[in-house]
């Protein structure tokens, strides 16, 4: 960079030893990240911005012999920061991130089909005084919509290079002009940055000088504040920039800002004036350059669909229907595939016992690895079906409408439509849902959503429900077989989770997270036909990631739980079993009866071994805590073992109730054993009330280490995960206690 500005001269000296930095910015859904991936290829690293959980994507771009650092910033519609994502984007542009120099050039990616709105952020970036290159992306889609853009004229009017790019560019050669423009931009200097509201800029500069001079007299450690930040603080009343100014210069600066605002505008707010003048400038710039069919022709199909889909009544009914179909599909379509996986797991267990001699190794493989990992892999079909629906609904543009419809419902519990997609995602798994809350601008709303999300029935709760419902809820049909009692109970458990989450958000937003009702602005993209290849690629990615998790985390948990349930072995019990076995063999003559008697003995032996194993002892230690819920030590041990991951309970119950190998929720043996489990005095362990209590416990309790960790990561504190754990566990306990006492 060469410049006459002294501060830039320092930057120029530094550049000789350091890679030049190019920031990539743009509205969401402009293909910004795709372009970033194409430019950098595999030369990328991902980290977090300091102090916040916003991902920092940095890649290396080689142009000729030169190498540049490319930073992919989170998508933003404007430089007025409201969410953590947007704040991080602006901090990078202003050089506020530690160990990261301010960018030498900015690549702004804009959507050619929506050029007017996309130019808004362009005009803001141009004011920063950093050289800009505009990538006019999706020109192919614009062409297909009969939108023609005079690119050279646009570049001339904006006095900035504009390079057309194609949405799904696969060949790197097509990016050569863009690379050349970027290399040139890095070496460009801007002596006088362009400004739209010149009076605001001047007022901001004067105020900055004044504030700095005053602070310098009272304090020597004042943080540097750029004039641009003061300009933003003037425009975005109550925004992040103003908050920062108050932090640095004290609360007096807020009054000074307001005094300036009053001087700069009459009859409208400065933010309104800024938006109006910016859009007027954009309209003038685009005049005669962009020719597009009238909006009413181009968007007529989307609008016609929206008349039905976004209708308060018809739209809501349609939404219920769509969601109903999704859940129906998740349960019914997945069954054949799940049976197949189940069969494969049983076969693997049989093979292990047939090949290996009986003992610890065979048990580790069959009861530990196959039963543990198998009981999780069995959900792969359900997860893939659910995600196929979510991806298709998202890509088609329906999800945005669903969020819009749900805004009304969410508003009741103090949240907004922003929270809907994370809530929906948590029906599969709370972890990505909690990560998804980053799009929620208000911190209080975000935390309320994070606290509510783990209540939704995730895919790991399904097997527990399936086992308990099959064991304790009779298969009764009503209305000519249309309604099944077991299905009704499952629906009830889903509803219980929803009610739990909604009430939690409601209570939090009215007590410790009290705040004003959030505004919800969201872009409704036009309806599109989802690209099959893109859907498949993402599904394969999901399947791969899920299997990797099953092969690592679940594998580890299974092996550890198995070892706790297997060791220590009692030699006395084993010897006693051998004696009894010999007695049976000599006493019972009929082969079938003999085998049955030996099987019973084996089951009793494994139950007895289990009772004195580490897990058994742990179960007996904690049993008094669960005694009021009517649980025996076996159930207590299984529940304790399932605190890191709730789905583990199936495998542990299988072992504790001495069925042995290949246990899953379809296992008749486990179902019967659970149903017939008895106390030493012969009373049944599972009365209807206790069984229902157990289901309620699993519906409300936070038994997922991954969720606890992700809450910690997303809230940057241990206070919220600790609160969530204690709150949800207490709620689960109380729910189970109520059911046990009433049942």
């Amino acid at each position: 960079m060469t410049s006459t500005d002294p501060s830039n001269l320092i930057a120029s000296d530094k550049d000789q030893n350091q890679q030049a930095v190019i920031a990539v910015i743009g509205n969401p859904n402009t293909g910004k990240s795709t372009l970033f991936n194409l430019l950098t290829g595999m030369r990328q690293k991902v980290a977090n911005y300091p102090g916040v959980t916003v991902e920092k994507h940095i890649g290396e771009l080689n142009i000729g012999e030169r190498s540049f650092q490319l930073i992919d910033l989170p998508g933003t519609y404007s430089l007025a920061a409201h969410s953590p994502d947007e704040r991080a984007a602006i901090d990078v542009l202003l050089g506020r991130i530690a160990d990261m120099p301010p960018p030498d050039a900015v690549l702004v990616v804009i959507d050619a089909t929506n050029i007017k709105r996309n130019l808004f952020v362009v005009t803001e970036v141009l004011e920063l005084g950093i050289p800009v290159v505009i990538a006019l992306n999706m020109v192919d889609i614009a062409e297909s919509q009969d939108i023609s853009i005079d690119i050279d004229a646009l570049a001339a009017r904006l006095n900035t290079p504009v390079i057309p790019t194609i949405a799904a560019a696969t060949r790197h050669e097509s990016l050569e002009p863009l690379k050349m423009a970027l290399a040139k931009a890095v070496d460009t200097s801007i002596s006088e940055p362009w400004a739209l509201l010149k009076d605001v800029k001047k007022a901001a500069a004067e105020l900055t000088t004044d504030l700095k001079a005053e602070t310098a007299q009272t304090s020597s450690s004042a943080e540097p504040i750029a004039a641009y930040e003061v300009q933003r603080a003037l425009i975005d009343k109550g925004g992040e920039a103003e908050k920062r100014l108050v932090e640095v210069f004290g609360s007096d600066s807020s009054q000074r800002l307001q005094a300036q605002r009053d001087l700069l505008t009459v009859g409208q707010t400065l933010a309104e004036r800024d938006a109006n003048e910016r859009y007027a400038y954009i309209a003038k710039t685009l005049d005669g350059i962009v020719r597009a069919p009238a909006d009413n022709q181009r968007r007529s199909l989307s609008e016609r669909i929206d008349q039905i889909v976004s209708h308060p009544i018809i739209g809501s009914l349609l939404f219920v229907l769509v969601m109903g179909t999704v859940f129906q599909a998740v349960f019914s379509w997945a069954t054949p595939l799940m049976d197949l996986i189940d069969g494969a797991a049983s076969w693997a267990t049989e093979q292990v016992y047939a090949t290996l001699p009986e003992g610890a190794i065979a048990s580790l493989l069959a009861d530990g690895v196959v039963a543990g990992v198998g009981s999780v892999i069995i959900f792969l079909p359900q997860i893939l079906i659910l995600f196929a629906f979510i991806i298709v609904l998202e890509d088609s543009g329906y999800m945005a409408r669903a969020a819009f419809l749900m805004d009304r419902l969410m508003r009741w519990c103090g949240l907004s439509g922003h929270s809907f997609v994370p809530m929906l995602s948590s029906f599969a798994c709370a972890v990505p849902a909690i990560m998804g809350t980053r799009v929620i601008p208000d911190t209080r709303d975000r935390i309320a959503t994070i606290m509510a999300a783990p209540f939704m029935t995730c895919s790991a709760r399904l097997p527990v429900y399936a086992l308990l419902i099959a064991a304790f809820i009779p298969q009764q049909h009503y209305f000519y077989g249309l309604i099944n009692l077991q299905g009704l109970v499952l629906l009830g458990l889903y509803l219980l989770g929803i009610v739990g989450g909604v009430l939690t958000a409601f209570l939090l937003k009215r007590t410790i997270l009290r705040g004003s009702a959030p505004t919800f602005l969201m872009e409704l993209p036009p309806y599109r036909t989802p690209n099959i290849k893109s859907v498949l690629v993402r599904l394969v990615e999901r399947a791969k990631a899920f299997l990797v998790r099953a092969g690592t985390v679940i594998f580890f948990v299974s092996v550890v739980v198995w070892s706790l349930a297997y060791f220590p072995r009692s030699e006395i019990l084993a010897a006693d079993f051998e004696r009894q076995k010999l007695a049976v063999e000599s006493r019972v003559q009929v082969e079938a009866e003999r085998e049955l008697a030996i099987q019973t003995l084996e089951n009793e032996l494994s139950a007895a071994q289990m009772e004195q194993s580490l897990l058994g002892r742990m179960g007996k230690t904690v049993a008094p805590i669960f005694k009021p819920l009517g649980w025996d030590w076996k159930l207590s041990a299984a529940v304790i073992a399932s605190f890191p991951a709730r789905e583990v309970v199936i495998a542990v119950l299988g072992t504790t109730y001495a069925v042995g190998a290949d246990v899953d929720e379809e296992d008749e043996g486990l179902r019967d054993r659970v149903r017939n489990a008895a106390w030493p005095d012969g009373r049944k362990v599972f009365t209807p009330g206790i069984a229902l209590g157990l289901m309620v416990f699993y519906a409300l309790c936070l038994q997922c280490a991954a969720t606890v960790v992700v809450i910690h990561r997303e809230t940057n504190s241990w206070r919220w995960p600790a609160f969530a754990w204690v709150y949800m566990t207490s709620l689960g306990y109380l729910g189970a206690l109520a059911c046990a006492q009433l049942g």
């Binding site: 977090n48 916003v54 003992g359 972890v431 999901r542 690592t552």
Partner: protein, 52 residues
Amino acid sequence: MNSQQQEWLALAVVFLVAGIAIFRWLKKRRQGGSGCGSCEQSSCTSGDKTRP
């Protein structure tokens, strides 16, 4: 292999698996991993992993 030997072997496998898991976890922590690499991506639908 008698049952005693089998038990020792099984215990060795358990400790090996636990050791590898702890090692991987520590490695991930040292790298300050976030997002794609260390999250439970199994159910993440996002292309850039920062959106739901």
